[in-house]
Symmetry: D2
Subunit: 484 residues, 4 copies
């Protein structure tokens, strides 16, 4: 499997890279100044686009309007757009330029169920029970496209050579659309990929997050009248309940970095019948796919045990699984320089007040928005927290990642609070900042082939002899599974 | 609590009653002949009405069209109809005549979810996922109204005196509508009530069935990210799962007549969040309410145990509960005589063929339809099987019950097969037969005050000093709970 | 499998048999008077022997002194004694006479753990934590040997012809010694077997009791330090706990006549180690072996399910299993006559006082000792309660069974109260009464070949085409398993 | 609660302390040379004493012979010995000298159940099922007493002034005897305490280990015949099983540093009775007592939940609980210097061969014995692994701790392998080495009041405002609980 990250070896490279590719603080090179200007010129377009997607409230694989809005805008700017890639109606690629290097940038745009929210600093659903952008993806896709557009301008103006390619990547919150885009070979000819994520702080993103796998277990028994002849029934609910018991007993025997969680989706239909069908969605996570796999195997096997205990049949079906991120510290160091050049986002008093009210409403310390640029973090061996399907992209192409502030410090993620902040100027500012920082780093990559090579070398070093294989079942992506 | 049924004491009474009130076989008295003729005259109306209700496919508390069709028909015949009684929009009373005796008759008309079926002897849904009359209630209400109409004719013609009252009783399959009709005092001035039920055999119904209680348990915990900080979560799903574990352990310590079943209705919303809400529907049954109550108490208490184990809050809410039937063998003996007079239903070869195809399709012995009249059964101390909200009526007024063949021998009840047979001539014949047998027995009651007194004495004897109290929560019936 | 008991067919036979073989009340025939006299002559020997065995307090397969005392006494009377039969050191056969018929009689003599008690009517252990005769087996073996001795006298005196054979049958309370005695063919040449059991009433014993099977499940995992690396452990305790969970969930799906109980014998050794070994003793019962077998199969299979859930190995080992009793109502009717002839046991006021004090101490109605002879009971289709390894004898040879009063009405069996009463005159009287009734019925069998034939015919009728197969593992009986 | 360890602040102190108190490598000061000589002079005594204790195989609170052997030897050397301190018959204090400073040293000597082993490099019990020194405590007490004796010689010879005090501390493996010794105030006048522990490597011991608490939960229900009337039983085994289910579900909601383990000690007595009694030993651990307490509270509360679920009574009883170690890096740095002066233990080829055979037999890499002196480790915020009741001593007096090699690299601790190595020259060498290193560091403490002050300052800094309270129930220690 892949080699462990060799921190000591890389530090000298980083030091060198800083001196070779870096720019002095507060003195961006002219191309970067051009890129920043491009983004400022399109600020109104970008915020309108972001607000539209915010109001579309479309969940994974159902992002029809959002994908169309981004595609149309890219097309209007001159990008060549290919829609419906990788058998996913809402996935698309927008490309400009030709030849090497090919620099990609990722843009997500799906919302989360049940988080619809007005642009106010207290919980207030815009549409009852409707989805909302609780992960800031209305900003994500737009900022990336904004950065790509700035690069397009430079290519168009002949200032740099090569290809810039924007990936419209749906379904990050559920199913993990990038898996099928990787499977379709869409990243095969790319040199480096960039992305960012809305966050409560601004920094080069150098943590791995968690690998995970999602699968469903179905149990199939025999129905019977629960009062008249329960002895003729074989209960699929019994099997499911014994399965979760087994999983909970197993928790003693997993490493502290492993997480197993499940969602009982169906454990019977009516009270007076022994249920003949049940279904559970299980998720296993670990800080690496290497650690994940034996646990995944075990939890699958346990389904058989539960089925035997309850005398029912069972079926296990993989939904999808993602890798942790293969962090590229060389690329991150280049990004870090640009953050230091840009400096922190500045906020108005009104924005800070709005932020503090959100913090008050969510029980967090009322210290407002934070966007100070700290030195680049160490990459932890086991970084806990969330997961992203950018992980799989990072295993096939070197990936440089940014976090930019779009919500108050300490905001609970995947909550109404992120929706609220992402729908107004706080979110807009983060979006524009991200677009600038990403475009500046892309300028570095276009201008410095040595940087591209160093980023690639870092990728190879980290990957070692690990042979990537995406974790998706055969056949098309589960586009319709998310329809209600 | 109520006295046990005194079989030995009653047998002499039955022997006497047979000689006093009975008629000789095959020689119905003239009023009974009139009643039979009335029903034959309305055969076309009644089968049309039954087929309409069959096609309405309306579930508990949603039987708007079915209740209207029956009410309208009763009104058209001259009954005085009161709609929307007992705070239930689909409950109604249709009355004719005045003064004593007041003889009631019950009519149900609700369908069951998911059983929609064509009139063919193999599984074939008429409307996908729609309800269907898998318990034959399309026939039930109509036959009872047919019997009431025959009595109305006799009153109208001055041949008998008193009041006949038809009760349109919704929601027998879920929630148990009669509970609120009893609570509303609608049975207070009635002398005797009759009812029947579609079945696979024809007989006086002298088994008690099971008392039951339905209640919901909700657990309320604290949500948390299942990977990032599950230690900040308190899982409502854990509580629910530990609650069902507790229930299953408890099964060792309940009497063989007790049944406990449950339906997990909600155990979490998404896979990556520690669930803060869960809900389970629990049903406890026993052969008597007396046996039921301590088990019901225990299973309620257990919710607290599970809540403590999982560190969550909980709430237990009564839905409703019904008594077993207080069997009236004196009245049943009078009914039995009339069955013997009427003799079995006769079937065509086509009907027997249809029946055998249903039996083939449901894996039962292919012996067709059975309607032979057997001697009246013993009443078992513990009769297992199903439950009915007629139980509660039988605890406030003496109730005489009939089963009449409307489906092939051995048909799995609450299945498509009952829907199919109940929608064609097999069902129609059973319906007409039931109407006749019920009206004949009502003639006995109207003609013989001594029979009414003996039936009442039997009721009092059985009831003993038990003080009936219906098991429903305060407030209106849960009319909207069954809306999807 | 075996045919159901045909009650209606047998009743005429019984009526005939009563008139053919019976004697008039209070007029025993002279041989029976001789037998009664024999027993009275040996009353002092028998009570001494019973008190000795009472004081030996020896549990299953460890009854060395008790078996020796009975064997020695039989030998001293002239019986030919074979000790250590069927590979069981404490099993023996004492025979007298030769030729047909061969009439056997069973005698048990094992005590129960933890019931040591003084001869006082309140709980008072004789030896702390020592066994005691809580099932009255100190009386059982002695009474049977007393009856056999009376028959021996008659053979010796030439008054009857044939063979009487006493079976010293150990380990009835655990392991079920008779299984191996049956396997060894010790009952192959016997015509009829008799036995009795101490009880709280006196009657022909015509209920079947329960078939049962005992087996052990062992789980074998991998030990690990429970704090340092529990993820390297595979817990045998987890497997056992999930196994019992599975069993408890399964309770919903067994018939009301089935019982499953278990004893967790070992679920880990110390608190800080993931346990690598666990063991559970499981017992399944049903009212018939026919009903028992599929449940037994199921509960065995479940061990595999639990093992898979916990990722451990497992082993299932049969301990032993017994049949319900094949009741012989023809033989029982002959016994009933003799009970009616003998009439009830009479008690002194002191004995009734002692009995009432026991009843007071155990919270029972204080109505003293009951030995009235009631008419013979119906044999229930499903008779619940306890089990006996006489069941297996009854499946290979017709068996006639007696209950005789040796303890107060309502005494909790397997308690100190049975020990107390069985150690003093109440027990002695029951023992002598049993010896008399048994010897009288044996006289009937020796005198009336037609009775023997009728008893055999009843046996054949009941057995039908069922082919008996004892449920014991291959190899010798588990003599050493009960050593501490 | 106590302040977190302030690593950054302490590093300068350590650097200073090294230059002030340290000696150059390979040049021990004369007093240390004297101490080393003392130990070498007594080498034969010490190894004999260690081998005796090894062969006594005495478990917690039963170490009568071992305590006597150590006490007698101390007395023979001139120590003033007080036996049976802190209400523990096998606890004692051996003191020499007078006045300040008072330097204590701890000595353990209890064995572990079931680990009896011959002095051979493969599993081979010396006495079947007997205890064995699987934690090397036969060496522990002797080495500490050896070190104390060397100091005694120096005091006796007038070379240093003050008091040396050896604490004979029983029951470290179970119950944690030091808790009661702390409670009895035996450490109140001590300046610094030292101890060591047998290990597979040689180093200053600067990890905290885990705090833990042990408690028992008993459930008390109602017995009933498991076949005849299980509905009259309330099962203490059900309660216990539901309790462990609850614990296992709770594992999802504890922090990764927490461990919960349990030992089912009694879950029923016989298979055919609903068990009325059950008992479980539960242990909760965390990297700090602060983290431990809320989990301990929760797991106690859960007993009530399980009791309610199973309708039984329950009782929770604290056994004892220990703190993690309050590490004293200032003292450790002084010890580290002495280890560097002494250098590694050297082994013969035979010893290395013996070690490799043990490694082969236990499936470890066959790399023999390791005693190289590495630089002092960082103290981890959360150090996982085992626990020690030295933790509580370290919370009332500054404690300096050593690990010394007495077993092959990678040896599974608490195994036969530790017993084997600890009974022969490998163990003896480690014991002598420990005695020397400890005595050298004690010389530092006696010679340098500034060091004592710095050690005390470190202690105070770490303790902060935390107020120590030992976790033991009122009343005497559970001396008899460990008798079989």
């Amino acid at each position: 499997m892949k080699k462990k990250y060799l921190n000591l070896l890389l530090i000298p490279i980083l030091l060198v890279s800083a001196s070779v590719y870096g720019q002095k603080k507060n003195k961006p090179n002219p191309l970067k100044e051009d890129a920043i200007q491009s983004i400022e010129n399109r600020y109104s377009d970008l915020t309108n686009l972001s607000d539209q997607i915010w109001s579309f409230e479309e969940i994974a694989f159902q992002e029809t309007q959002s994908a169309a809005a981004l595609s149309d805008y890219a097309e209007s700017l001159g990008f060549k757009v290919t829609r419906g890639v990788a058998e996913i109606p809402t996935a698309f690629v927008a490309e400009y330029g030709s030849g090497s290097p090919v620099i990609g940038i990722l843009g997500e745009f799906d919302a989360l169920p049940g988080l619809s929210q007005n642009k106010v600093p207290y919980k207030s659903p815009l549409h009852e029970d409707a989805p909302g952008h609780g992960c800031g993806h209305n900003l994500f896709g737009v900022a990336s496209l904004g950065a790509a557009s700035a690069i397009k301008d430079l290519i168009e103006e002949g200032k740099i050579k090569g290809t810039v390619r924007f990936y419209g990547t749906p379904a990050e919150e559920k199913f993990f659309g990038k898996l099928w885009m990787v499977r379709a070979g869409l990243f095969e000819d790319v040199d480096v990929v960039m992305d960012w994520h809305p966050a409560a702080e601004t920094k080069a993103a150098v943590q791995k997050g968690l690998a995970l796998v999602d699968f469903q277990v179905e149990f199939k028994g025999q129905a019977a009248h629960a009062a008249a002849d329960p002895w003729n029934g074989r209960s699929a609910s019994d099997a499911l309940e014994l399965y979760t018991s087994g999983i909970n007993y197993y928790r003693e025997h997993i490493k502290p970095t492993v997480r197993i969680h499940y969602h009982i989706q169906d454990a019977g239909q009516v009270v007076n019948v022994v249920p003949d069908y049940s279904r559970i969605w299980v998720r296993v996570r670990d800080s690496s796919r290497e650690g994940l796999m034996p646990v995944y195997e075990r939890v699958q096997e346990m389904a058989e045990g539960a089925a035997i205990l309850a005398n029912v049949d069972y079926e296990v079906n993989l939904i999808s699984g993602i890798h942790e991120v293969l962090v590229n510290r060389t690329g991150s160091a280049a990004l870090q320089k640009n953050l230091e050049t840009l400096g922190p986002i500045s906020y108005t008093e009104e924005e800070q007040e709005f932020a503090k009210k959100i913090q008050e409403a969510t029980g967090k310390p009322e210290n407002g928005l934070v966007s100070k640029i700290e030195p680049m973090e160490e990459t932890a061996v086991h970084s806990m927290g969330g997961s992203t399907d950018v992980g799989d992209v990072s295993y096939v192409v070197p990936t440089i990642r940014l976090s930019a502030t779009t919500a108050p410090n300490g905001t609970p993620w995947h909550s109404w609070a992120v929706v609220a902040a992402g729908g107004m100027s706080i979110g807009h500012k983060g979006m524009a900042y991200a677009a600038k920082a990403l475009s500046m780093t892309m300028v570095d990559l276009f201008e410095n082939p040595e940087l591209v090579e160093a980023v690639k070398a870092d990728f190879k070093e980290n990957l070692g002899d690990y042979v990537y294989k995406g974790m998706v079942p055969p056949g098309p992506p589960p586009i319709k599974s998310n329809l209600q």
